[in-house]
């Protein structure tokens, strides 16, 4: 029993470490309801293309909230640059929607989507 426990502890520890490090990956790639970021990215994109700026601002707010919920779950998985990149995209997206700049808003949104995709690597 003692020998079994002495083997079990390191094996269990290594499994927990893998789960902590890779848990974020499964969150990003899952299609569960908790992972609503891609959905909101699409919504904001549709709003910008239709130039519904008020709706775009509303959906961006929801996207921002979803991102703030997702961040603690992926922070042990993701690299800091990708997380900072998404934060910057959100800030610039907010400004471009406020300025009603369709081109800039779409560029930021696409970059944000790309950063999100890169988190899967």
């Amino acid at each position: 029993m003692r020998k079994f426990i002495s083997y079990l502890i390191p094996i269990l520890s290594l499994i927990i470490f893998v789960v902590i490090m890779q848990g974020g990956y499964y969150y990003i790639t899952s299609w569960s309801e908790r992972n609503i970021i891609p959905e909101y990215v699409d919504k904001v994109k549709t709003d910008i293309n239709a130039e519904r700026w008020d709706k775009a601002e509303e959906d961006l707010h929801q996207l921002d909230l979803a991102w703030k919920k997702a961040m603690p779950r992926i922070q042990y998985h993701a690299e800091m640059n990708a997380i900072d990149g998404i934060k910057e995209n959100l800030a610039r997206l907010s400004g471009s929607i406020e300025a009603k700049d369709r081109g800039l808003a779409l560029a930021e949104l696409n970059e944000l989507a790309e950063h999100w995709e890169n988190l899967k690597n």
């Binding site: 390191p10 470490f17 902590i20 490090m21 890779q22 042990y76 690299e79 800091m80 900072d84």
Partner: protein, 232 residues
């Protein structure tokens, strides 16, 4: 992203992963390590350090790198254990640098080992006269093993026809004021006997004892917390 918390979590992962892998890789001490083992240790340590604080990259690739290095080392250890020619090829062989009192210049040149290195290591072993040396071998970890000529070897009890008693390994009975019951059983003694022995030595309570050991002949060694050292 709370960088502090991420670093703490990653450091815990790195620390314990390193601990587990180090235990897995064996009990070699630093002094027994070959140059390659030494470099290997530094590399694995460096990967663990990156895993811990390099937030610009993900923890996972570092962890995989750490695991890969550890597995390769483990694989090589197993391979060298099972295959002697491979062990010779991978770990190398001890090299004789002094044979029958003669310095082997060619062997030394092949190893890029200078006479100064040999003399330094001999002095380190307390040998200042080359005339005393019969054989000297550079081990794979770079240490020099020396066999002195018979006339310079220290006398042993056997040489003097003295009878000796084997003391065997001692067993700890008390550590830090606490009795180790498992070891009491193993040494075939009981608590009462131990307390009586201590009482005979003027110790009234076990908590006064820092360490008590018993050897295979049943003789008890103990050290109390109170040290009576005479000031000169």
């Amino acid at each position: 992203m709370n960088e502090g918390i991420v670093v703490i979590v990653r450091s815990i992962i790195g620390f314990f992963t390193l601990l587990i892998f180090a235990r897995l890789l064996g009990k070699q001490q630093i002094s027994q390590l070959t140059f390659f083992d030494y470099v290997l240790g530094i590399t694995i340590g460096s990967i663990a350090a990156s895993l811990s604080v390099d937030l610009s990259s993900r923890a996972w690739p570092h962890w995989i790198g750490l695991a890969t290095w550890a597995v390769i080392v483990l694989g090589l250890q197993w391979f060298t254990l099972k295959c002697r020619p491979a062990a010779k090829y991978i770990v190398g062989e001890p090299t004789i640098v002094i044979m029958n009192g003669q310095i082997m210049e060619d062997a030394m040149r092949n190893m890029r080992y200078t006479l100064g290195d040999v003399l330094e290591q001999l002095r380190d072993k307390g040998i200042f006269d080359l005339n005393q040396v019969s054989f000297a071998v550079v081990e794979t970890n770079g240490k020099l093993s020396v066999l002195l000529k018979p006339e310079f070897l220290p006398a042993t009890p056997k040489d003097l026809n003295l009878t000796t008693q084997s003391s065997g390994l001692s067993t700890q009975l008390i550590y830090d004021g606490l009795i180790i019951n498992e070891n009491l059983k193993q040494a075939n003694v009981d608590r009462l006997w131990l307390e009586n022995e201590l009482k005979n030595k003027g110790i009234n309570h076990i908590s006064e004892v820092f360490l008590a050991t018993i050897d295979s002949s049943g003789s008890l060694y103990f050290d109390t917390y109170q040290d009576h050292i005479k000031q000169s």
